[in-house]
Amino acid sequence: MTHLTHNPDLTSSVIYGLGWVYLLMFLMNAYWVRRSYALDGNCRLSLGGILGKGEQIPVAAFWAVYAGMLLMVAVTHLTGWKNPQQFSLQMPEFLKEPINRASNPVAFFIGSTTIYVLMIVLRKWWTTPTAGWILLNLSILFLALSVTDYDFRQIVGKPDNVPIVAMLYIVGFFTWLYFKKSVDNDERTAAGRPLFEQENNEKVLTWPDLVYSELICMVLLTAVLIAWGIVLQAPLEEPASAAKTPNPSKAPWYFLGLQEMLVYFDPWMAGVVLPSVILVGLMAVPYIDFNKAGNGYYTFNERKFAVSTFLFGFLPLWVAMIVLGTFLRGPNWNFFSPYEFWDVHKLELLNNINLSELFWIKGLGRPLPVVPPGATFAQQAPIILLREWLGLVGVAFYLVVLPNIMAATVFKKYYVKMGFLRYMVLANLMLMMMSLPIKMVLRWAVNLKYIVAIPEWFFNI
């Protein structure tokens, strides 16, 4: 008796495709066994005393066992794909359950920020080839197992979302490469040896050294683009209809970080002011970074502040927000866990509250000052200013007073070196960047909606 379901976790084509993925992983790791045998040496295996003092065995043996398992899994897939009902290799429910339950925007942001911190703190550890290889294998295994879930597949498999998955691997790889080269250079500097970039830095002729690599690169890329075009068809949905609004309606994927900010900010902030600040801030980078070190070579130790700030803006606040907006935001922009069905009727309680309401109603136990309907601007202004005074003072403190306090304390060295104008630009850019995580935390901690809420003037912060 076969169990028929409209949303099967496993289908023949999924199992067949995964078979090739595991076969590829086997080949990758077969290569790694060879590499490990040549480079990694031996370790002592005692299995907790069972083998006595233990035997010297090559580290490569562990990789060989792993590669052998991958081969068996691949063969199982490639021979068993015709009977998806009897196939049992898939993401187990006991893993899906806790992942689904633990997933929410708070955990996501805290998680991505934690990874960002660990990446910097543990940079010596995770940039070794073996650690990088383990991380790569784990991420592919997670993805391959997750594809066996119907709901996961619906979202990640959308043609326009495939580039984002590729981007994650590419960004991850280059971040790894950056830290690896930085750790190497920082160790060289500490030991008084020349930088990697200073060794073998003779001038060579552009023809052939550069033009040939350019040619090879162009040929390879052309092949990749054509193959990609053949394998994956560009999306084309129903003809446009102004009457049928899809739910969720999403901007193109590279703007989904901005769309995610709409959860915490009004459109004028999330869609206009903050993007402008990002661009102006990027353009200002060369003019506010007075540190002359680190020009033309990879280093972390010599540019800790600049690199940490940039990485925080790029990884948790941009790339991770795109991932959140693309893969985890469903109908009505509700949060959906990776293995959760995108239910249009999912309800989320919204009991967000403005700072003015917290102050007047909860704090003082008095009603909010009310603007009479039909009031002119001059009549509105004093009432609104009275109602929102706490938020306005808070924002003014944050953007005007706080930079000065920082100049006298934590950023004293910067202030002295940069001068007033450049320091103020830096401080305000930093504070604008931090306004997003701050509003996130305020939302999660006290359900705060707006710090300043003046809907009469479309001015909500």
């Binding site: 446009a240 102004a242 020009n295």
Partner: protein, 257 residues
């Protein structure tokens, strides 16, 4: 005398390539100086400046993808008509019947790839500190090119005229409604009025300027088509030229002068 020697000895060949093949040091220098395309490069470069693990090649790949977009884009323009009547059906035909309709796939995937490679190029330039003096201004031009790449991608997103297209553009352009002072739902817009008449309405604000209409319609399609195929590529080409020229004038891609 072989055919090859005959061709290379002919007047036509010599009028195009003014020196022998670049197989010795002298001619490898000369080829870089006499060829229009190659003279974008210097004659010689520092080894680290072309090491793949250092440059990641992302700037070059971005430029190559821009060329791919131009070529496939021109081919697509032969078939595609930006009107409500034809737009969707032309894309459908590109998918189902047109010979080499795969150009649309290549165009779209290259566009996605270009957004990613621009980010990675910027990532590399930042992480190697290559924006530091004397290259500050070229970084600024680079940021402008980043914005224009995103705008190219955004305007192109509308052209297939399917549900994905118009609603992505609707969501994206709704933000312009909230532009301070210039959007009719933006803070400060109500201050801009003369004798009680609002200057900024939903028929005159920043969003209307972008869409050419109060909603994403035929005027928007036309406007985005021209921005996508003519206006933005022209500006991008100019900025790319300046970007490359400045790389040369500022002493290569990286490292202090």
């Amino acid at each position: 005398m072989s055919v090859g020697d005959y061709i290379r000895g002919s007047q036509i060949w010599k009028s195009i390539f003014r020196h022998p093949a670049p197989v010795d040091r002298r001619n490898r220098v000369v080829v870089m100086l006499t060829n229009f395309f190659l003279h974008l490069h210097p004659v010689s470069v520092k080894q680290q400046g072309i090491a793949l693990s250092y440059t990641w090649c992302m700037g070059g790949i971005t430029f190559f993808l821009f060329l791919v977009e131009t070529i496939t884009g021109v081919l697509l323009m032969f078939y595609y008509r930006p009107t409500l009547e034809f737009a969707f059906n032309d894309i459908l035909a590109l998918r189902d019947v047109t010979t080499l309709g795969i150009m649309r796939e290549v165009h779209r995937w290259s566009a996605h790839a270009m957004v990613i490679t621009v980010w990675l190029h910027m990532y590399r330039v930042f992480l190697t500190g290559s924006y530091k003096p004397p290259r500050e201004f070229n970084w600024v031009i680079g940021v402008l090119l980043l914005v224009l790449t995103l705008l190219l991608s955004f305007t192109g997103y509308l052209l297939p005229w399917d549900q994905l297209a118009i609603w992505a553009i609707t969501v994206g352009s709704n933000m312009a409604r909230a532009t301070p002072f210039l959007g009719y739902e933006g803070p400060g817009a109500q201050l801009l009025n003369i004798g009680g008449y609002d200057l900024i309405t939903n028929g005159s604000d920043a969003r209307f300027l972008l869409l050419g209409s109060r909603f994403v319609g035929e005027a928007t399609l036309n406007r985005f088509y021209i921005l996508h195929c003519v206006a933005i590529p022209l500006v991008v080409s100019l900025l790319i030229a300046i970007h490359f020229w400045r790389v040369r004038k500022d002493g290569g891609i990286s490292q202090p002068l």
